[in-house]
């Protein structure tokens, strides 16, 4: 093939190129020059480049085949570094200055490919070859090498540049596709007053109007389309989105679109892709149709192209794909390409048409002097690196010819783009006359019009588009401010009579082993016959077995030919075979578009403590705990977090530690039925709590597992404050609300999660009371006036404050809460109130582990019941129902072998057991787990390691020696009571 750029001339079509602006680009290591407005594919063709890659499996040379997103062959590696695009379709990449493109599937390069030696072996590599051959010792030992050999493009592991921000929009009517039907639909819907979005995947509106030599209303169709698009863009209620592919159609009118942002011609960087989420009341699908190739011998040679693509390159890019062409067409549309080629100065050596009777198009061609071979086929293309001749055979036998050519334009029929319709659940009907599937019954709110609906005539498509647009606007409830006085005249289209296409699935006389059905996945007609012979009769199985219709093009040009051949091989009718399931995306969407800019700091909002700045000033090391950025420790000098935590824990035991507990859940429960409600929510009783007092409680799931634990304070007879575990507050509040709204709808209770409204600082340690006294809250701190497990309200520095005397450390502790805005002042005031040490989350974990206090979710899981942590008694005494009660008497909860929480003492060393290490029983191959360490640390005050573990029947095993297993080593340990420090709780009182 030897493509070339036409001189400026009068050939029809909407020209895209700017001949004054030359663009330098690089392909396969060589510099080339294209024009502004070129696609990468048109620029390659204009430079006479025929081979743009090698095939996936057999490494055969392949050339540009199509002009749109259906391109199976021209899959290139574009760009360099983090911004590079793998598997870019050259047909949809706008040329830009300095663009770098390289072919895939060839090493070291396009001209010499080491694996091209595979070609003669192709006959030994049929469908299923890998499955049948690479079996011993196992597929996994072969897979890496095969993947390297087969891999298409490569991806730079560096993070890609940030994608564009997503957009969300609503409209009355979405029209997909701005060809004749789509433009007409958008115009009609807009005129009826609807808010319309018209999405077109191409650079500009027009569809085939832009590249066909047609006339509408007395104007060239390209001009008619351009003017109509201009008028639409000028309407306030119509938005035209070009370069925008509707790639997924979901429920209730939700559509995902990918918009390629405009290309900066001067910059090497690829344009970003913007994702749209669109909700449309009504949808008109005017997606057009894709041309099908014909299946004959060597139909994959560079120089074989879709006839409509050849025409597009002529009309829009002024590029002729060859010097001497043969047109092999089963449709009348192929003749348009023959006429266009001749108009452009390309020699048309033959039009080959399998239909025996010359139709109107053939007669026009013959009348104008073009050589027509009716009732004939191209049974083989000849050439090694590119097509150089074709063999033509008469279907009735006898006559045959060999004609030299460097371009073979093929047209096997048209396949409506039913992808979106089918994604949305629409069903398809086989149209026997046109030889294609077309939309049939579909979900409400979606209409199809034009070629995408099997309406291939231009006048019919425009009329159908208008009807669909008007109907959609009406159904969406649109009302025009000033309704049009009369319906517009039907378009005046000079419509040539068209004969139906021939349905030729495999050209007679072609060698099926050399006749390609799927160019991208390298699937031949013989592969399909073989799969059918091996009983892969379902089209879905055929797809998986042969890879027909897989990879980046998803079989846009190959599916119908493939399933027709399967039908022939299995003796079924084509509609019986059906199609494979259409799934989003219609065309590949870069993952960077999905990620958008929402990564790093923007991936998820971080929650900062009200006193964050103060913690920064204290030198805190921060970590994410349940979404909150919290100090895990405050390291000093060379300390690491572990050393800092040990120092902080010891200081808190000896003096006073300050801990920012602001994320601790603070759920207020009010109302006359609040006490009744909490008795049903907690596994223990809360209604007997006196105002001003605090009680520890357990909440269960309805399955009986421990859901959350914490203290509950009664602020007033009808007002409680529930402390949920930090990071779990929203879930606890939501759980309460669900019970109130869905089950106990009669209870007069209001649940309000005020966690973030309050900042909380815990003061813990023997000197806690003196620190609190210095804060001067006006609350009487005397032990008898403010005993353990009680709550008081006062004022600190003029603001409301709540002080709870509770302890998660075993030492005298107060939790002081003020409105969140005063959190930093509270921290600073507490630091100024006497000698304190700030302690982080790690130190708190040491303090609570020393006391054996559980951490729900770390020490327990969803199957842990209260009895497993030694809390059966409090619940057994409780009268009445509560969430999870009935589950506690299920047989599984009374069965032996339950995992129960115990303390573990290390017998042979000072290093803490790793959390997660197993307690094992049995030896060697009989060694099995009897539980696992759930919390573990070195206790600085006890000067030895302490640990909590879930152990089978653990509560009955106190004193027993067990073995803890970690990475091959076993360590002896003793089962002990959970509380390692101060079992008499003397320290609670300071």
């Amino acid at each position: 093939m030897s493509g070339w750029r036409l001189p400026p001339s009068g050939i029809f079509g909407a020209e895209r190129i700017d001949r004054e602006r030359r663009i330098l680009f690089r392909f396969d290591g060589r510099n080339h020059v294209g024009l502004a407005g070129d696609s990468l594919a048109s620029a390659l063709l204009a430079n006479g480049i025929s081979t743009v890659g090698r095939s996936f499996k057999y490494r055969r040379p392949r050339g540009i085949f199509a002009a749109g997103p259906e391109e199976p062959n021209a899959i290139l590696q574009v760009g360099r570094g983090a911004a590079e695009e793998p598997n870019a379709r050259a047909t949809v990449i706008p040329l830009r200055e300095g663009l770098l493109a390289a072919p895939v599937n060839c090493r070291p390069g396009l001209r010499i490919d080491m694996l091209a030696a595979l070609q003669p072996l192709a006959r030994f590599m049929p469908a299923g070859f890998y499955y049948k051959t690479f079996k011993a010792p196992g597929w996994e030992s072969w897979e890496p090498a095969i993947r390297r050999a087969a891999g298409l493009g490569t991806l730079d592991p560096a993070p890609a540049p940030a994608g564009a921000a997503h957009r969300y929009a609503h409209c009355d009517v979405l029209v997909v596709g701005a060809g004749p039907a789509g433009l007409a639909a958008a115009e009609a819907a807009g005129a009826a007053g609807a808010r319309v979005i018209l999405a077109e995947q191409d650079e500009a509106a027009g569809g085939n109007l832009a590249w066909d030599d047609r006339f509408v209303d007395g104007q060239p169709s390209a001009l008619w389309a351009e003017r109509l698009a201009g008028r639409l863009a000028g309407r306030g209620n119509v938005t035209l989105l070009t370069r925008t592919t509707a790639f997924g159609l979901y429920d209730h009118g939700y559509v995902s679109l990918a918009e390629r942002l405009p290309t900066d011609l001067d910059r090497g960087a690829p344009p970003a892709t913007r994702l749209w989420g669109l909700r449309a009341r009504r949808i008109v699908l005017a997606c057009g149709a894709l041309e099908r190739p014909l299946v004959f011998q060597n139909n994959d040679l560079p120089g074989v192209m879709l006839a409509s693509a050849v025409r597009r390159y002529l009309a829009q890019y002024k590029v002729a794909a060859g010097r001497t062409a043969v047109v092999f067409t089963a449709t009348d549309d192929g003749y348009r390409t023959a006429f266009a080629l001749r108009m452009a100065g390309v020699e048309v050596a033959a039009i080959v048409d399998p239909r025996p009777d010359e139709g109107p198009a053939a007669q026009r061609a013959r009348d104008s002097g073009l050589p027509v071979f009716a009732g004939s086929v191209v049974s083989a293309a000849r050439g090694r690196r590119a097509v150089r001749a074709v063999r033509i055979d008469a279907l009735q036998g006898g006559r045959h010819a060999e004609l030299a050519c460097d371009l073979l334009a093929v047209s096997g029929g048209w396949t409506p783009s039913v992808h979106l319709f089918s994604q949305a659940g629409g069903s398809l009907d086989w149209d026997p006359a046109q030889g294609c599937f077309r939309p049939a019954g579909g979900p409400a709110g979606i209409d199809c019009a034009g070629a995408g609906n099997g309406q291939f005539g231009l006048a019919g498509a425009i009329a159908a588009g208008r009807l669909a647009g008007t109907a959609a606007a009406e159904a969406a409830g649109a009302t025009a401010p000033s309704p049009p006085r009369r319906a517009p005249d039907p378009p005046d289209v000079l419509e040539d009579a068209e004969a139906p296409p021939a349905q030729l699935w495999l050209v007679p006389g072609a060698n099926p082993r050399k006749s390609w059905v799927d160019l991208q996945s390298d699937v031949t007609a013989a592969d399909i016959a073989l799969a059918a012979g091996e009983n892969y009769r379902s089209v879905e199985h055929l797809k998986r077995y042969t890879t027909l219709g897989m990879a980046t093009d998803q079989g846009k040009t190959s599916n119908v030919n493939g399933l027709a051949l399967l039908a022939a091989a299995t003796g079924q009718a084509i509609p019986e075979v059906g199609t494979t399931r259409f799934r989003p995306p219609f065309t590949p969407v870069p993952l960077a578009a999905f990620a958008g800019p929402y990564r790093g700091d923007l991936y998820r909002p971080r929650r900062f403590l009200p006193a964050h700045a103060a913690h920064v000033a204290e030198g805190a090391a921060f970590e994410d705990f349940g979404g909150w950025q919290r100090p895990e420790a405050y390291p000093r000098g060379p300390e690491d977090v572990l050393a800092a935590a040990a120092r902080e824990a010891l200081a808190a035991r000896r003096g006073a530690g300050l801990f920012d507990a602001s994320p601790l859940g603070k759920i207020e429960v009010y109302g006359p039925d609040a006490a009744t409600f909490l008795d049903r929510i907690y596994a223990n009783t809360m209604s007997t709590l006196k105002p001003g007092r605090v009680r520890y409680g357990l909440m269960l799931s309805e399955h009986g597992g421990i859901f959350d634990d914490g203290v509950c304070a009664r602020l007033a007879p009808d007002r409680f404050l529930v402390s949920a575990t930090s990071g779990h507050a929203a879930a606890v509040a939501a759980m309460m609300d669900e019970w109130l709204q869905c089950e106990w709808v009669g209870l007069k209770v209001l649940v309000s999660d005020l966690t973030t409204a309050w900042a909380t600082i815990a003061v813990t340690g023997p000197r806690a009371r003196s620190i609190l006294a210095a804060l001067d809250s006006g609350i009487d701190l005397a032990p008898e006036a403010f005993p353990h497990m009680s709550v008081r309200e006062g004022r600190l520095g003029g603001v409301a404050a709540r002080v709870m005397r509770v302890s998660f450390t075993g030492d005298l502790s107060y939790e002081v809460s003020v409105p969140a805005g005063h959190g930093e002042s509270l921290w600073l005031a507490a630091r100024a109130a006497g000698h304190t040490v700030p302690i982080g989350v790690e130190a708190l974990m040491i303090l609570r582990t020393e006391k054996g206090f559980i951490h729900v979710g770390a020490d327990t899981d969803a199957t842990t019941q209260p009895a497993d942590i030694g809390m059966a008694a409090a619940i057994a005494r409780k009268p009445g129902d509560f969430v999870g009660r009935r589950s506690l008497s299920r047989p599984a909860f009374a069965a032996p072998g339950r995992l129960q929480l115990v303390g573990l003492e290390r017998l042979d060393g000072t290093a803490p057991f790793p959390v997660g290490s197993h307690i094992v029983e049995g030896r060697d191959s009989a060694r099995a787990s009897a539980g696992a360490v759930t919390s573990s640390c070195f206790s600085p005050i006890l000067d030895r390691p302490v640990a909590l573990a879930m152990l089978r029947d653990g509560l009955a095993r106190t004193g027993e020696e067990v073995r803890v297993f970690d990475r091959g080593a076993e360590m002896p340990a003793r089962v002990v009571a959970r509380c390692f420090l101060d079992p008499a709780n003397a320290r609670l009182h300071g």
Partner: protein
Amino acid sequence: MLLIDCPWCGPRAQVEFACGGESHIARPGPPDTVGDDIWAAYLFERNNPKGIQFERWCHAHGCCQWFNVARDTVSHEIRAVYRMTDPRPPVDGTRFDEAEGSG
């Protein structure tokens, strides 16, 4: 993605909601009178209809209110939206016997 007509806020995108599964499941009680089989059925047994499913949703990122939805599991068409306290509405197209549910 579904468009759900919250009885309080109007039609909103599915991402704003949380699905709570099948609705109209009566909670058996008092606990001492409930057999293991009844309790297990309440906890674990759910309809899986090809057709109309009655389920509850919470407008979790909106008004936080729970309500019921009758949804066709094949077409995802929402046939009715009604409050938690409303009885199950008559909706055509229930394709499986749901007599074991109550409410």
